[in-house]
Amino acid sequence: MMSDWFKTKKPHKLPTRAQPATDAPAPRKYDAVVVGAGPAGASAAYFMARDGLDVLLLERGPFPGAKTCGGAAIIAEQAHELFPNFWEEFSYERIVTRLDYWWLSEDSAVTAGFTSSRLSAAPYNRLSVKRKNLYTWLAAKAVAAGATLLLGHHVAGVLLDGYQAVGVRVAPPQSTDYLADLVILADGANSLLAERAGLIPPVTAANLSLYAKETIALPPATIEERFCLPPGQGAAIGLIGYPTAGYNGTGSIHTFHDSINISAGMSVSAYAAGGFSPGDLLERIKKHPRIQPLLDGGVTTEYGAAMIPEGGYHAIPPLVHPGLLIAGDAASLVNGIHGINLAMWSGFYAAKAAFEAKKNRDFSIRKLSLYRTLLDESFILQNMRTNAKAATLQRDRPYLFDLYSRLANEAAYQMVRAYPMPVKDKRKFIWRKVTSLQPVGKIAADIWQVLKVVKG
């Protein structure tokens, strides 16, 4: 898109100019060095290596996936376009055939869901996955295509020659510099590398959400019974309202083969305002009367927490720099809580731009902005654009999720009650109950805002 192309064309001021760490002979130079073996980085490395580029993939964890947690389900239909029949190559957990949203109040839930055995046929709609399995498979694929993967390598900074990125510096214990024509930052949410190199504005507490997760072990048959699932099939449940104690945030439940992942979180700034911790949120949601029975008797096997960029379309920083591209969570490419596919696809587009740049021996912003163009034309940015106003709405009306979950629950409760009164009077009674929670004028104003967003 031309307008965006001009945006990325402006020169960027880069503050630091790093000197090589030692006077040792110049190490071998790569076509591209990729930071982070998550779905974004490993996809970029795979597609570049497949197209014949000499690629180095650096990961700080002892294995890919060791440093991230929470969720997760992958939208298989989208990943299948990039990695045909990928489910045959690694062990996923369950085929998701039940998708639910639960709007919770203190003691009840209004639910909407879809469940169908049609979702159980390949290409699957969603698969629940453990990150270790997904990430390790993808990184191995990059290696099989010819990329070099170094684990336990923490990149401490980007090496710059003037404005041009020329490589990266690895922190101790290796303390090595690696030079490359192109650097791809795929280091996840909270990209300290991009921020410290002055490539993106500082990441803020309002744009990042912090989720705590717990993995709870249960026998497979118990999971299938409690979630009404045929063997091998799984559920993904989005939890809205009560989980985040009056703030806009969400929770989720994902069923694995013999465990459940339950996560809850909200924006980092909301914890400070609310006066509780991510662990408190998780405990609260686990005790909810509709959720506790699902977990009953389960044994917690792992606790964790991670951040997810939720600033939406308007929080996407400049992604194209001289000799450098930013992909995945580091680029804020998350739609709702879906980020794995966006990460993979952004890695794919970065690889395409890298291939063209290498062919023309031109790693300038001008050449590399093909990346931004491809993203702009893709479903990724189109969907994020469509949802852009929703993110703003959540920020401007921080009570929406919780309040309307309570309203819906109150209305539904009164509706199912069988009062000894005529239906007409019952409707009036319910209306009075609901409007006692939020005045009519304010409901109307909220609905108007929501409609404006939904209509675009």
């Binding site: 440093k67 694995f256 465990s259 927490a305």
Partner: protein, 95 residues
Amino acid sequence: MSKLAAKIALVEFRPDETWQHVVIADQEKCRRCPDKNCLRVCPSGVFAWDNIPGHPVLVSYRQCIECGACRLACPEGAVEFSYPHGGYGVVFHQG
């Protein structure tokens, strides 16, 4: 053992004994800080304070699960955060 401590005990850590990756550089800022967001936001209880005015905020970096939220939550910019050096720190296995 508190509930949180029991959960943290389930997590695998490979702490770097030679380098601390979360530090409070200036305790003076903490002394002046009324809300002490770090105590609440950290999901892993890394920051601790004995509630005695003037006493420092302690940082148990070995149990950090590397979410990265503390540096964003601190209004004073007092938390100096980097991820641990390669191969060290938290290791998640369950996804």
